[in-house]
Amino acid sequence: MIDLVISLALFFLAALFEIGGGYLVWLWLRENKGVAFGLLGGLTLAIYGIIPTFQPANFGRVYAAYGGIFIVSSLIWGALVDKKQPDRYEVIGALISLVGVTIMFYLRS
């Protein structure tokens, strides 16, 4: 149980760094912010790369389950940071994806 909690916490932390880093690069290239945003984004993405190494499963499996957390986190990021509420199809698609993630990572064990 404690492994599951640690695992989920690490996934969310990784998603935060990855989406945050990607968003900074996005601001640089799409929203016309300075190159400093891009460099900061690159640094954030490098830190993101370190986080999954703390996960207690093999590489492929870690990254597979992470994808599901990532989908949900992206929509939350859009709503909170970008102030763009997910539309109906984004919510439906995300819920369907989570069923797949549950089968793949948590139902097996």
Partner: protein
């Protein structure tokens, strides 16, 4: 388009100009849905290659005891990964949410090819369901949006 032109004027060392020209080119290819689908899928796959490749290099550095060169290369590749989605014709959260699903499929393939871990039944069923979910997120036609 106006915004992109503005953005081309403020280029540093010609890099930004080049990037925005490529982007205009890409978006103009999105006239038909079929072409748009091909371009966006290729961009998703490219992002996946960079992200998993970069993550793997850092993994090799920290978990397999490889040198700092691996860490440095990993960081560069992850930075490139961050640039790829900026060429996608959609808003940030939709691109990233969809990418999450593409990422799952590609991670399984990556683990299979490089770590010799074949997907089992749970992987295959789960991946298929995830793929359906993210396809709805990105490709479901929306009446009020031009790019979809």
């Amino acid at each position: 388009m106006e915004k992109l032109e503005q953005f081309s004027e403020k280029d540093y060392f010609g890099i930004k100009r080049h990037l925005s020209d490529v982007k205009i080119n890409l978006e103009s290819r999105c006239i038909s849905r079929k072409q748009c689908f091909t371009y966006t899928i290729l961009l998703f796959i490219l992002a996946g290659v960079f992200e998993i490749g970069g993550g793997y290099l850092i993994w090799l550095w920290l978990r397999e005891g490889r040198g700092l060169t691996f860490a440095f290369l990993g960081a560069i590749v992850l930075f490139l990964y961050g640039i790829v989605p900026t060429f996608q014709p959609a808003n940030f959260h939709r691109i990233y949410a969809t990418y999450g699903g593409i990422f799952v499929i590609m991670s399984i393939l990556w683990g299979w090819v490089f770590d010799k871990i074949p997907p089992d039944t749970y992987d295959l069923i789960g991946a298929l369901i995830i793929l359906i979910g993210v396809s709805i997120i990105y490709y479901w036609p929306r009446k009020d949006e031009i790019n979809d």
